[in-house]
Symmetry: none
DNA sequence: GTGGTCTAGACCACG
DNA sequence: GTGGTCTAGACCACA
C-alpha cells in the first residue's frame, strides 16, 4: 500500500498541474491511501507516470515539505509525516472556509452534471451514501 | 426578475477566476437560481461586485455563449437560454457513470473534510443550496 | 423588382451588422438585383424585416449616401444612384486589393468547408460554374 | 517543418482581427499548407509578424483548441491536430448544401468583381492558392 | 448603457 | 521560451 502511482491529473482541467497534484497527494493522505511513514514515488518516477515535467513534481514535493506534510530524507526518499497539532487546530470553521466549501460544491455539482446527473439526483445520491456509511 | 450578484469566487483557489465563475453560473442555472430567459448581471456590474476585471467576466460570458448556455443580444444584455435537445439527450445514465459519481462524491466529501466539515454537514450544505433555487 | 427586403444578415457572424448590411446592399446593386433608380426599403421597414435597430439601418444608408451609392430625397425615399466615373476608375488592381481578395477567398473557403466541401471540391465547383457561364 | 508567418489579415476589413486570423489558420490547414502535427508560430512571434497584439493571437489559438483543431502543449507550443471522426462524419453532402454552395459562389464572385477581378481571375487565384499546400 | 474588440503590459505555469 | 491569466483602459457596435 506504500506505492501509489497514478494520482489522477487531467491536462485539460484549467487548474494548474501542480495544484492538481498537490491536492491529489493531500487527498491520498487524508483518506489513508498514503499512511504516515509511507514513501512517495520518486520525483522522476512520478513525472514519467503522470507524463508531466519533473520540475513540476519537484515543486509540489517542495511545497508539501514546507507545509510539513511530507519529509524528504536526502538520498533516501520522500515520506509522509505525522500531522502536527497546528494542522488539526486550523480546522476551525471560518467564513473563508465556508466560501471554499461553496466553491467545492459547485465544482462537484458541475462535474456530476457533466455525467448527466441533475442537482437533485446528486444530493439524493450523496445523502444516501452518507446515511449508509454511518 | 434579474438576480444580480454574488457568485462564489475564491481568490485563493488556484483554479482560474474565469473557470470558477463559469462553474458558478452554470451552477446557478442548474439549481434554478437563474431561470430560462433571466438576464445575467451586466459584465461591468458583475466585475464590480466580484472585484475582478470586466474582461474576465466578458470572457466567461463569451464562453457560455459559445457553449449555448446563454444568449447575448447585442447592446441589450446576456440571458439564460433554453437548453437544447443535444444537452438533454446526453443525459443517459450508465453503470459506469454511477461509478464515476461515487468516485466524485468520495473526493468531494474528503476535500470538505479537509476543510473541517463532516459528511453530514456537507450533505446539509449541498441540500440547502440546491433547494434555494427551486 | 424594386423592393428587396430580406438582405441576409446573420446575427452570429462576428462581422458587425452595419458592415454586413452595407455589403449586402452594394452586392444587390452590383448584381443588378437593385437597379439604378430603384427605391430602397424605408429605414424602419428594413429594420423590422431584419430585426435590427433602425439606427443601424440609418447609419448604413447615411454611409452609402456619403459614398455616392444611393441618394436620399427627403420625404420621398432612398434610391440607387448611377455610379459615377470615380467608382469605375478605382477598379485598378493594387496590392491592397490582392490582399482583400485573399481574405475573401478564405472566407469563402471556410464557409464552404463548413458545408462539408473540401478545398479541391470548391475549386472544381467554381471552375465549372465559370466555364458554363462563358 | 514549421511554416511560420504570413496569414492574411486585412486591417481595413470590418471583420474582427481574431475572426480573420482564425479563418486564415483553418484555411492553411484545409489546404494542407499546415499539416497534422505541424507547429504553429508561437503566439508572440505571430503577433509581431502580423503587427497585432499577442492577446489577440492567444485568443485565436484558444478558440481553435476548444474547437479541437489544434492542440497546445503547455510550455511547448501549439500544434495542428488530427481531425476527429465527428468532423469528418458531418461532411455528408446533400442537394441543399450544393444549393448553398452555389449561393456562396455567386456572392464570392460578385464581391471579387467589386474589387475589380474577373471570374476567370478569381478561379485562377483560388486554384493556385489551394494547390500551394499540396 | 449593453456587450465586443483590441492594446499594453505584468505575472504565472510549464518544460 | 512556451502558452495562460489577469488587469487597466481605450474605442466600437448596438439599442
Amino acid at each position: 500500500m506504500a506505492m501509489t502511482n497514478a494520482f489522477d491529473i487531467d491536462a485539460r482541467d484549467p487548474t494548474p498541474l501542480y495544484a492538481q497534484l498537490e491536492r491529489a497527494i493531500r487527498f491520498a493522505i487524508a483518506t489513508g491511501r498514503l499512511g504516515i511513514g509511507d514513501q512517495l514515488p520518486t520525483v522522476r518516477q512520478l513525472a514519467v507516470n503522470l507524463r508531466i515535467n519533473a520540475n513540476t513534481v519537484a515543486k509540489v514535493y517542495a511545497e508539501l515539505e514546507r507545509a510539513g506534510v511530507v519529509e524528504t530524507r536526502r538520498g533516501v526518499g520522500t515520506f509522509v509525516r505525522e500531522p502536527d497539532s497546528k494542522t488539526l487546530t486550523s480546522r476551525r470553521r471560518t467564513a473563508a472556509q465556508e466560501q471554499r466549501l461553496r466553491v467545492l460544491s459547485e465544482r462537484f455539482l458541475a462535474e456530476a452534471n457533466m455525467l448527466g446527473f441533475s442537482p437533485a439526483e446528486v444530493v439524493e445520491h450523496l445523502r444516501r451514501r452518507v446515511r449508509e456509511g454511518e
